[in-house]
Structures are given as structure tokens and as C-alpha cells.
């Protein structure tokens, strides 16, 4: 086991990982500006991301002094929407990824350690979950329960937890399980839960963390896609911003109304790419063969 500092030293070697991290930090700062701006600078009636409206101009208005990124077809400030959504995208991405990784790690470790029925059960469950076409399934679930950002994150997290991630983490845990010190711990009389917790999980954790990054990307992209098709009950997000422009018919003459789709489209891509790149960086930490010598 390497220490955190050693991990960090390896990660720092990866230029792609660092670039991703820088972008994420920038988004974090951008998102944290929202409450400050809303409370101190912006008039809530005009700059509210959902019900705001600027009566002084025609909408959608091109970028101008009052609205640095213009307004959307129903007169809401794009910059405010972008800032407001950033925090929520963080919440969505990180929450769903956390759930998937925590649950997936635990199940993977259990399946590997106990084998037999537990293993077969969770592996077949993973098969079933992976059978569902993603988008239509969420359309179905979306009409069942009203999916807001929070419940969407939870459902997404569990779907991923029981799906592919379990299989991968189980494989990793299996490699750990055959190591001699596990047997030693067993002989020494450690109970199963203790062994899983203190020997298997720590060894799987770096890989879990890597998949967490990939899952953030997946969560954000799914949210955007589903929002684009209008099957989520989310009042504002980057995907919703594009959906609003699309349903109002402003999304086909690309040059003219660029501020309606470019900021949000760019934000989605940048944000997802950043997490993915951090994942790639972590990959080199986890997987020694990928490392430069």
C-alpha cells in the first residue's frame, strides 16, 4: 500500500490528469460564485435562473452589459443559469458516482470473498441491469416517479452500482482475495466483515475511485441527454438550457443564437472531459503498467 502522498506524486506526473483537475477546480469556483452573485449583485426578479425575467428588452437578447451571455427565449439570464446549474451538476455527478462506487465496491468485495451463491446472484443481477437500454429505461422510470435531480442521481447511482462496476470491482477483489495475507488473517481468526473491510476494500479502493471519475462523466451526459428529450423533471440544468432553446426553435441557425447553446454545450463537454481526464490520470496510479518509467 502506498501512501496518499505517493499516489499524488504519481498522479502529478500525468499531464492529462492535472489538466482535468484544473478544469474541475475552475468549475468549482464558478459554481460557488452563484450564491454570492445572487445574494449581493443580481436582482432576484431578473436573474433568477427559472422565473427571472428582464422586462427591459426583447428576448432572446444577445450578450450585452446587463447579460454577459445574453438571455434565453423566456427572458432568463444565461450566465445565471449556467452558474446555478454548475453546483447542481456537481451534486448530480458526485452523488450518483459516490453511490455507485460505494455500493459497487461493497458488493464486488462481498461477491469475490464469499463466492458461490452471493457471487452468482450479484453477477446475474449485474447482467440483468446491463441488459436495459439506458435511455428508454429512464424514460419509463421517469414517468413512474417524478425524477428530480436528486432522485435521478440516486437511481443512476444504483443502476451503475448493480451493473458493470460490480463486475469490474469483483474481478479486482478476486486478485486480492488469493493473496497470502488474507489467509493469514483468516487463520488468525478475523471475522469475514473485518477482512473485507480492512484488507479487501482498501485494495480495491483506488480502482473504485477511478471508476467514480468515469461515472461522473456518465451521469452528467445521461442527465443532459434525457433533459434534451424532455423526460426529466428538472427545472434547470445545462441539458435543460439546450432543451429550452430546442423546443422554442432557436437551435437550428447555429451562428445567430450561439449564446443559447454554446455556453451550455461547452460546459457539458468540458466538465465531463475534465472528470474523464482525471480518471485517466488515476488510471496510471492504479495500473502500474501504464505508468511512464
Amino acid at each position: 500500500m502506498r501512501s496518499l502522498a505517493q499516489h499524488w506524486a504519481i498522479f502529478r506526473e500525468s499531464r492529462i490528469g492535472i489538466a482535468g483537475l484544473v478544469v474541475i477546480v475552475c468549475f468549482g469556483v464558478f459554481g460557488m460564485m452563484w450564491p454570492l452573485m445572487f445574494r449581493n449583485v443580481w436582482d432576484p426578479n431578473v436573474y433568477h435562473p427559472v422565473v427571472g425575467f428582464d422586462p427591459t428588452m426583447m428576448h432572446p437578447a444577445a450578450p450585452c452589459r446587463g447579460h454577459l451571455l445574453g438571455t434565453d427565449p423566456i427572458g432568463r439570464d444565461i450566465l445565471a443559469q449556467l452558474m446555478f446549474s454548475t453546483g447542481r451538476e456537481f451534486l448530480l455527478g458526485v452523488l450518483s458516482a459516490m453511490i455507485s462506487v460505494v455500493v459497487g465496491t461493497f458488493i464486488g468485495a462481498m461477491a469475490a470473498y464469499y463466492g458461490g451463491f452471493t457471487d452468482a446472484f450479484f453477477m446475474r443481477l449485474a447482467d440483468i441491469v446491463m441488459l436495459f437500454p439506458f435511455v428508454p429505461l429512464l424514460v419509463v422510470v421517469g414517468s413512474l416517479v417524478r425524477l428530480d435531480m436528486f432522485s435521478f442521481a440516486i437511481i443512476l447511482g444504483f443502476l451503475e452500482a448493480f451493473g458493470g462496476i460490480t463486475i469490474i470491482l469483483k474481478a479486482q477483489a478476486l486478485q486480492v482475495k488469493v493473496r497470502p495475507y488474507i489467509d493469514a488473517a483468516k487463520v488468525a481468526g478475523g471475522d469475514d466483515l473485518h477482512i473485507i473491510r480492512s484488507h479487501i476494500i482498501p485494495n480495491v479502493l483506488p480502482l473504485s475511485f477511478l471508476y467514480m471519475m468515469f461515472n461522473v462523466t456518465a451521469a452528467i451526459l445521461s442527465e443532459a441527454t434525457l433533459s434534451f428529450f424532455g423526460v426529466l423533471n428538472i427545472d434547470m440544468s445545462w441539458g435543460m438550457m439546450i432543451h429550452t432553446a430546442e423546443t422554442a426553435g432557436y437551435l437550428f441557425d447555429y451562428g445567430r443564437y450561439w449564446w443559447l447553446w454554446l455556453p451550455s454545450g461547452l460546459a457539458i463537454t468540458l466538465f465531463c472531459a475534465a472528470f474523464y481526464m482525471v480518471g485517466r490520470g488515476l488510471d496510471e496510479v492504479v495500473n502500474p503498467r501504464l505508468r511512464k518509467r
Binding site: 499531464r15 492529462i16 489538466a19 452468482a120 446475474r124 447482467d127 440483468i128 446491463m130 441488459l131 436495459f132 437500454p133 439506458f134 435511455v135 428508454p136 429505461l137 424514460v139 419509463v140 422510470v141 414517468s143 413512474l144 458493470g164 469490474i168 474481478a171 479486482q172 477511478l210 471508476y211 471519475m213 468515469f214 461515472n215 462523466t217 456518465a218 451526459l221 445521461s222 443532459a224 441527454t225 434534451f228 428529450f229 441539458g239 439546450i242 437551435l251 437550428f252 447555429y254 447553446w261 454545450g265 457539458i268 463537454t269 465531463c272 472531459a273 474523464y276 481526464m277 480518471g279 485517466r280 488510471d283 495500473n287 503498467r289 501504464l290 511512464k292
Partner: protein, 392 residues
């Protein structure tokens, strides 16, 4: 090994059954049913709504409906669609299948090829500018917002530059006079491509058996392959089908390119990682030490053995694309299975939605099985590579 396979097959059947039950009851739990469309017109009396429910069997308890569904399923009957009553679900799925197959197999094959080639190169030149550049560009496309990207490409290539057709999968003004329905042509295309690839594969295999490849042999192989391809085209032309095939190909370019752009990075990064592991194997070192040319070591030794995880991922993604890509199909007006699934779910058409989900589920289940068998038989390695879910 045999016991493992048999056990797996048994699990497969049970999994399938559970999957069908899950899908069925999930859809049943959706609020409302298709008879709700009658609520949008006050002139339709309530009696008509009751009759419709009776006609569709919705007045029976869910468990009875489910049992009859299962019974029908095992006799190969997926029921009739509600929203296209009384068209059989099978009929609708089979109508969409050829279109979906042709588009997504082509796109998968191309993005796999591009990803494989690039992955090979950047793994070999790890840390170089080309590695970083390809990785960043690949990730940018991989995480791009797909609907937006496709709209931009349509706007650029079809609308502004007018190089390619705007949308749809065939040009109506041409097909009005076509002697065949488009599905026949799609069918022949699938058949033709299969025959040609088998022939080409056979040629390459029979000529490549010797130890060394000479220039003449390679030339012969190319010439023969080209001959087979030309013969295929000739047959199509003499049947008068070539112009229609060409029209379909024309319409495929944009969606295939878009899908490739979105997807190639997955294979590329997987290939890169996989190859970084093989380059350190002894036989690669040995080949290098022998003084073989760089390209030969790369292509024949390192890349060939790095192929396994990427091929398994190809099997899985091929099966996944059976459900079609809702985004692709919507953006490019290419009505395939994904559209059926989406629209039937929105329209409360349970039998059609269930049928489509089960149909694609079977493909995926088989693919997982095949992938498992490949792994178990060849190499129990674990693949690393996230799978962002731009679409399912």
C-alpha cells in the same frame, strides 16, 4: 469447462425469465394506460373506453395478463401493439431491424477500426505529443453532447456545404419508382456484405498461411479482394439495385461519421492501455532484440495480443447497438429500434415497449455470454475503460 458452460446456459435462461418479468411489471406500473388517449376527446363515450380496455385485455388482473404474455412468449408470439393495433409486435420489430443493423454495425466497425489503429500508434509512442493530442481530442468527442454535435454536423455538411443529404435514410423522390421496398435492399446489403467479407477473409487466410508475406502475395490478396468486391457490385448493378444501395450509403455517411467521432476514443484508449501491458511482455522484448522493424513488432507482436479485450468490448457494443441509438435515430431521421422503444414507452404501448426491450435484451444476453466464453477460453484479464453512457 463443459460444466461451466452448461451452468452458464442455465443461468442465462433464468436471467432471461427474470428480465422479462421485470420489464413487464415495470411497464405495467406506469401511470395510466393507452385508453387514456380517449380522454382527450369528450365526444368519445366512456363505453368506448371500456370496450377498448376489453379489446386489449386491460380489464384482466395483471397476473393473468402476465401469464398469458409468458405463454405467448414461449410460443414465439410477442403480442400485438396497442398504438398500432392490431399489428403484431414482431412485425414492427422486424421492419425496423435491418435499418438499425446496417447503420450501427457499420458505425461500430468503423469506430472500432479507427480506434484500434489510433490506439496502436499512440501506445507505441506513449508520452509523445501525438499521444496527448489524440487522447485529448478523443476524450473531447467522447464526452461531447451528442445531440448538439450531430446537429452541428448536419448543419455544416448537409445544410451549408450541401455535400450530403439532410436527413432520412433514403431519398423519397428516387424511391417512389423503386421496384423494391427499402427493407429488401437493406436485406441484400447485409447479405452482400456478409458474403464479401467471408470471401475476403478466406482469401487473406489462405494466402497468409505461409511464414513470410511476399509483396506478390499481398498484391494477389488485394487484387482478389477487389475482384470479389467488384463482382458484388456487378451483381447489384445488373439487378438494378446499385443506385438504391448507393442512395442508402449516401444517407449513412453523416450518422456513421458522427457515431465514429463520438465512439472511437473508447476503443482507442482501451487499445492503448491493453497494448501498454503487452509491450512489456517477454516475446515483444525478444522480437525487438531480434532487430525486427519497429512496425512489425508493433503490429504483429504487441497489437495482436492486445486485441482480446478490445474485441470483447466490440461484441458487447455491437449487441448494445441492437437497441439502436435513440439520439442518432431522432437526429438523423433514421427510424430504427431505439425510436420504437422511446415512442412506445411514451405512448403507454406496453406490448411494443416490452417486446422491444426483451428483443434487445436477448441479443445483449447472448453477447455477454459470448464475451464471457471468450474470456474464459482465452485470457482471464480484466478490461479497464469507462463506458460513458451517451446512449444505450
Amino acid at each position: 469447462m463443459r460444466r461451466y458452460v452448461l451452468g452458464r446456459v442455465g443461468q442465462l435462461v433464468i436471467t432471461l425469465f427474470i428480465y422479462i418479468a421485470l420489464v413487464y411489471f415495470l411497464l405495467q406500473a406506469m401511470p395510466g394506460d393507452i385508453s387514456m388517449i380517449y380522454l382527450q376527446n369528450p365526444r368519445i363515450p366512456q363505453a368506448a373506453r371500456e370496450e377498448l380496455k376489453k379489446q386489449l385485455g386491460l380489464d384482466q388482473p395483471p397476473i393473468v395478463q402476465f401469464l398469458s404474455y409468458i405463454r405467448n412468449f414461449f410460443t414465439g408470439n410477442l403480442g400485438v401493439s396497442f398504438s398500432q393495433y392490431p399489428r403484431p409486435v414482431w412485425d414492427i420489430l422486424l421492419e425496423r431491424l435491418p435499418r438499425t443493423l446496417v447503420l450501427f454495425i457499420t458505425a461500430n466497425a468503423l469506430s472500432f477500426y479507427v480506434g484500434f489503429m489510433l490506439g496502436r500508434v499512440i501506445a507505441w509512442r506513449r508520452g509523445a505529443t501525438v499521444d496527448h493530442a489524440a487522447t485529448v481530442v478523443g476524450i473531447a468527442f467522447w464526452t461531447a453532447f451528442y445531440p448538439l454535435l450531430s446537429l452541428i454536423l448536419i448543419w455544416l455538411f448537409a445544410y451549408t456545404l450541401k455535400w450530403l443529404p439532410l436527413n432520412q435514410f433514403i431519398e423519397p423522390s428516387l424511391w417512389v419508382y423503386a421496384p423494391w421496398p427499402s427493407n429488401t435492399v437493406f436485406g441484400y446489403m447485409v447479405f452482400g456484405i456478409a458474403v464479401i467479407s467471408i470471401a475476403v477473409f478466406a482469401i487473406l487466410w489462405s494466402l497468409g498461411r505461409g511464414q513470410r508475406k511476399t509483396g506478390r502475395k499481398i498484391g494477389l490478396a488485394w487484387a482478389l479482394s477487389a475482384g470479389v468486391f467488384a463482382a458484388g457490385l456487378g451483381v447489384a448493378a445488373s439487378a438494378g439495385m446499385l443506385v438504391y444501395m448507393w442512395d442508402i450509403v449516401r444517407h449513412m455517411v453523416l450518422p456513421v461519421v458522427t457515431l465514429t467521432l463520438i465512439n472511437f476514443a473508447g476503443t482507442m484508449l482501451l487499445m492503448r492501455d491493453s497494448m501498454l501491458e503487452t509491450v512489456e511482455e517477454d516475446y515483444v522484448m525478444a522480437a525487438r532484440a531480434k532487430g525486427l522493424p519497429d512496425a512489425v513488432v508493433r503490429d504483429r507482436y504487441a497489437a495482436r495480443n492486445a486485441l482480446l479485450p478490445t474485441v470483447t468490448s466490440l461484441v458487447l457494443s455491437l449487441a448494445a447497438s441492437m437497441s439502436g441509438g435513440l439520439v442518432t435515430e431522432t437526429m438523423f431521421s433514421w427510424p430504427g429500434l431505439g425510436q420504437v422503444l422511446f415512442r412506445s414507452a411514451l405512448a403507454n404501448d406496453y406490448p411494443l415497449a416490452t417486446g422491444a426491450l426483451v428483443f434487445t435484451g436477448i441479443f445483449l444476453l447472448i453477447a455477454h455470454f459470448v464475451a464471457d466464453m471468450l474470456y474464459a477460453a482465452l485470457d482471464p484479464r480484466i478490461s479497464y475503460g469507462g463506458e460513458p453512457v451517451a446512449e444505450g
